[in-house]
């Protein structure tokens, strides 16, 4: 695990983030792009979940992401609460060439809104943008976060490419639910960094935990406590323990 010892003078804080979404939409690929700036053409399905950390340097602070990359397969779904329980943010990912994956994404959003921490920042992400014929010029355009509006994809929706879900459909839904919205390609890297940056910016500083565990901000701890209290719905019979022992 990366240690936070050699931190720059900038204040640093940690953000717990969970990725959810149907199998094979590219969750692990997005993480791999974000963490290692790499892509694998035939990535094997995640089994269970993977836990990764990555630092992100923003202009005025450093964010340490603690990422849960979950498996999209149905049989792991019952474990999901354990991962989003204490999360301050979630990436709900769909594959914009696959309509069922948006349906699944909507389910995840609903579940998060019902059961995760109330203040959780959710970003809806349509991945595999590279499979559309659209000019990837949009990649340069930074999406300045908060609003989450993405210019890419608007123009060439009907050009007979692999796209099955228009950017408008995704964005409209995201606006309705108050989510950040991006279309990305883990393959080319388009918009990947931007998603994470937008999330970091969307989380109020008060809700971030100090990376060094100095109990930064009462709000942060409050949030955690609230989250664990709310979420307690393990279907399985085992006694629920506070997930985080760090």
């Amino acid at each position: 695990m990366a240690d936070s010892a050699a931190a720059p003078p900038k204040p640093s804080s940690s953000v717990k983030l969970v990725l959810l979404g149907e199998a094979a939409v590219g969750k692990s690929s997005l993480v791999l792009r974000f963490v290692n700036n790499d892509f694998q053409e035939n990535k094997e399905p995640t089994i269970g979940a993977a836990f990764l950390t990555q630092k992100s340097h923003l202009p005025h602070r450093t964010i340490k992401f603690e990422i849960w990359d979950t498996a999209g397969q149905e049989r792991f779904a019952s474990l999901a609460p354990m991962y989003y329980r204490n999360a301050q943010s979630a990436l709900v990912v769909y594959d914009l060439t696959k309509p069922t994956s948006l349906v699944k994404a909507k389910h995840w959003v609903a579940e998060l809104q019902r059961q995760a921490s109330p203040g959780i920042v959710i970003a809806l992400v349509g991945n595999k943008l590279d499979l559309t014929n659209e000019d990837a010029a949009a990649s340069g355009e930074t999406n300045t976060g908060e609003g989450g509006d993405v210019e890419s994809g608007e123009a060439a929706e009907e050009s007979g490419d692999a796209r099955k879900i228009s950017a408008k459909e995704g964005r409209d839904y995201a606006e309705e639910e108050g989510l950040l919205f991006f279309e990305t390609s883990a393959k080319t890297g388009v918009n990947v960094q931007e998603v994470f940056t937008a999330i970091a910016n969307a989380i109020p500083e008060t809700q971030m935990k100090g990376a060094k565990g100095s109990g930064a901000a009462g709000a942060g701890t409050g949030q955690t406590a609230l989250g664990s209290e709310r979420v307690n719905l393990n279907q399985r019979a085992e006694g629920v323990k506070e997930g985080c022992a760090c």
Partner: protein, 697 residues
């Protein structure tokens, strides 16, 4: 651990001298026998050599014993066990074989395996003092589909199985298969093609020539290339179906297939080719299986077109192995068993049963989504040849006893409350285990874990730490455990790794596995891992593990200086562990390794033949001389080059035994593959034992 039995090969050697002589005496006549043997094979073995007859009767004595059924020896006569051994310079594409369609004479099936060899001799000594040696006959199989095999060892084991009714049932299968032209060519076509290549025909005519090896050499490339393509993707059928024929040809060229289907006939898994491509074949197989099922006669295996089909039925599932690599039925069954365990590991037994009792036509592909890479990783391991699977044993990383002790102690010291099992595994070899006293770890469970971590790339490639729910069927097939996994690189820098990473292709993986019954314990275990790794670093244990990994296995000549041995497998029966030298320098290629493993499979089959009571089995072939030696304490399989003498081989075998005895506490984790003495003294650890109810949910 005492080898006080003082097993020494010298004694058995002496006992065998006689056999040896006879061996030489029986060899020459075979020169003239080649052609006739073939004919005999074709003509349903009207006649068999007298020495063969002798062997056969001798063995049949034991064949009717109930033991046979107990260990579910398949009721069919096995196909000739074909083995390609170390044929570095003189390989020919005979890695598969065809058992003559209907041969009432079991012996014939077993002996008729080689097209070329005339020097091959088997010597078998039985515990009762009787010995057999018989020369292999050359055989050219019926030209139709399959290739004559170049087996050099035949299985004595199966001989007994095929008396009377059993062989009758084989006869009844053969027509079933061969009436459908499709079925007949199921796997044989491509091989058949290479068999009939000019070079092959040339070979056929050279049976009388004094030295046929030269011409074989050039065939080698083709066969080599062929096996290297074994793992290639077949690809999808094009929309217009235009490429179908070509794809089917590719499919048939594979040496080994695994199919899993539901008893209702729904495909669940197949190693090669997509469903559309092979649905016809799946249908045929299902029809055959259910035909026998229908008449309350379970089909366990059959041979067609040079491939051995072994069928295993497990509850609602049929698992089928199709192999041209010469394993015997028992060995293939072990492989099928492992695939089944993987399915249980994903689903648990109650889930599996439940799904099918609710809906017999359940499509298991969906719930098994994501398990395919794991099944394929297992399948490919078996196709490459896997000593742990063959021996049903684990391999440990060789380190000093005191070092291992220190690591064990660290594991125990840092153990957190929710821990059930803690393991450190380095490049597929066990370094250390802690476990509650009452729970052992089953080797088949470890095989699944090792496969997931070291063969399938999914977990490793993800990077980071992992939290994996899985069922360990050997431990408890009713519920899930949760496994924390993180990897530590054995190399301190990338550059270092590049130069040394050849032995296993996964040299940098030191895995810390912490298993709990509590699905919420990720953060606890993670904290434990951090403490564990830190302590291992501080005490230098990590450096010891890393350097042991980097060093790799010693070569055979490191172990026994100047030895004729090229490789060996030593299994300690009590510890359910094995040790072996590096595959280098002789077996660096995929093909060389496969041939070595085929030889081991054949030795293993011979020495484990139920009826044979073999203690020592010698095998001499054109490219190797080998030996299997079994005592209550160990199994030893040794391979030397063709020019080594039996004496030298026996001497080396004894040296290996001595070496193991000396190094026993370094190469093995003594006290069982999965338990550690010190642990048993740790009474506190016992409180860790979780009631089964907790995880059988």
């Amino acid at each position: 651990m005492g080898l006080d039995g003082e097993e020494s090969l010298a004694t058995s050697e002496r006992a065998e001298e006689n056999a040896n002589d006879r061996t030489e005496a029986t060899s020459p006549p075979r020169d003239g026998e080649d052609e006739s043997t073939i004919r005999r094979a074709k003509e349903e073995g009207a006649e068999t050599g007298s020495k063969v007859e002798f062997l056969s009767t001798n063995i049949q004595a034991g064949s009717q014993s109930p033991v046979l059924e107990q260990e579910y020896r398949p009721p069919l006569p096995p196909r000739p066990n074909n083995v390609n051994i170390l044929r570095e310079g003189s390989y020919s594409p005979g890695s598969s074989l065809k058992r003559p369609g209907k041969t009432p004479r079991p012996l014939l099936q077993s002996t008729a395996t080689t097209a070329l060899s005339r020097t091959e001799v088997n010597t078998q000594s039985y515990q009762d003092g009787s010995r057999e040696s018989f020369a292999a006959s050359a055989q050219r199989t019926p030209p139709s589909k399959a290739v004559a095999a170049f087996g050099s060892i035949r299985k004595v084991k199966g001989l007994s199985d095929s008396e009377g009714g059993d062989s009758a049932s084989v006869r009844s299968y053969a027509p079933t298969l061969e009436t459908g032209g499709d079925a007949e060519s199921l796997l044989g076509e491509v091989l058949g093609a290479s068999q009939e290549s000019p070079a092959w025909r040339l070979l056929g005519t050279q049976n009388e020539a004094p030295d046929p090896f030269d011409s074989v050499t050039y065939e080698d490339d083709e066969a080599t290339a062929d096996f290297y393509r074994e793992f290639d993707e077949i690809g999808a059928v094009a929309a217009d179906g235009e490429n179908e024929e070509q794809l089917l040809k590719k499919w048939k060229s594979k040496r080994k297939h695994f199919l899993i289907l539901s008893s209702a006939g729904k495909p669940i898994y197949n190693r090669h080719g997509d469903d559309n491509l092979i649905s016809g074949y799946i249908g045929i197989i299902q029809t055959i299986i259910s035909f026998y099922e229908g008449s309350h006669d379970q089909l366990k295996g059959f041979t067609a077109a040079g491939a051995r089909f072994v069928v295993m039925s497990q509850g609602p599932l049929y698992l089928v192995a199709i192999s041209k690599l010469g394993e015997n039925d028992a060995q293939l069954r072990v492989q099928l068993e492992a695939l089944y365990m993987q399915i249980l590991s994903t689903l648990t037994l109650p889930n599996l049963t439940h799904m099918f009792s609710n809906r017999p036509s359940t499509d298991l592909r969906r719930p098994l989504q994501g398990t395919e890479p794991l099944l394929s990783a297992l399948a490919d391991t078996f196709t490459r040849g896997s000593p742990p699977t063959l021996l049903s044993a684990l391999e440990c990383l060789k380190i000093r006893k005191s070092h291992r002790q220190a690591i064990n102690d660290t594991l125990l010291r840092t153990r957190c409350e929710t821990l059930l099992y803690g393991l450190i595994v380095a490049s597929g070899r066990l370094v250390s285990v802690v476990r509650p006293r009452k729970h052992s770890l089953h080797p088949s469970d470890l095989q699944l874990i090792f496969n997931m971590l070291f063969e399938a790339r999914g977990v490793k490639a993800g990077g980071g730490e992992n939290w994996i729910p899985l069922c360990l069927p050997g431990f408890n097939k009713n519920g899930y455990l949760y496994m924390y996994v993180s990897f530590v690189s054995a190399y301190d820098s990338e550059a270092e790794q590049g130069s040394e990473g050849h032995e296993t292709g996964k040299p940098d993986d030191i895995a810390i596995l912490l298993i709990s019954a509590n699905k919420e314990s990720f953060y606890d275990l993670r904290k434990m891992r951090d403490a564990l790794v830190e302590e291992l670093e501080v005490h230098g244990s990590m450096a010891i593990i890393k350097s042991a990994v980097r060093r790799g296995r010693p070569t055979a000549t490191d172990i026994v200086p100047g030895t004729v041995l090229r490789h060996f497998l030593y299994k300690s029966r009590a510890n359910v562990q094995f040790t072996m030298p590096s595959y280098e320098p002789s077996f660096t290629t995929l093909l060389a390794r496969r041939r070595l493993l085929s030889l081991y499979h054949a030795l293993h089959a011979s020495i484990h033949a139920k009826n044979a009571h073999l203690k020592v089995h010698h095998c001499i072939s054109r490219e190797s001389i080998s030996l299997a030696w079994v005592t209550p304490l160990f199994e030893l399989y040794c391979v030397a080059g063709p020019h080594a003498s039996r004496n030298a081989l026996a001497q080396s075998a004894n040296k290996v035994i001595q070496w193991v005895r000396r190094e026993e506490e370094r190469v093995f984790i003594i006290g069982g593959a999965v338990s550690i003495h010190s642990l048993d003294n740790h009474t506190t650890y016992e409180s860790l034992t979780l009631p089964a109810a907790r995880y059988s949910d």
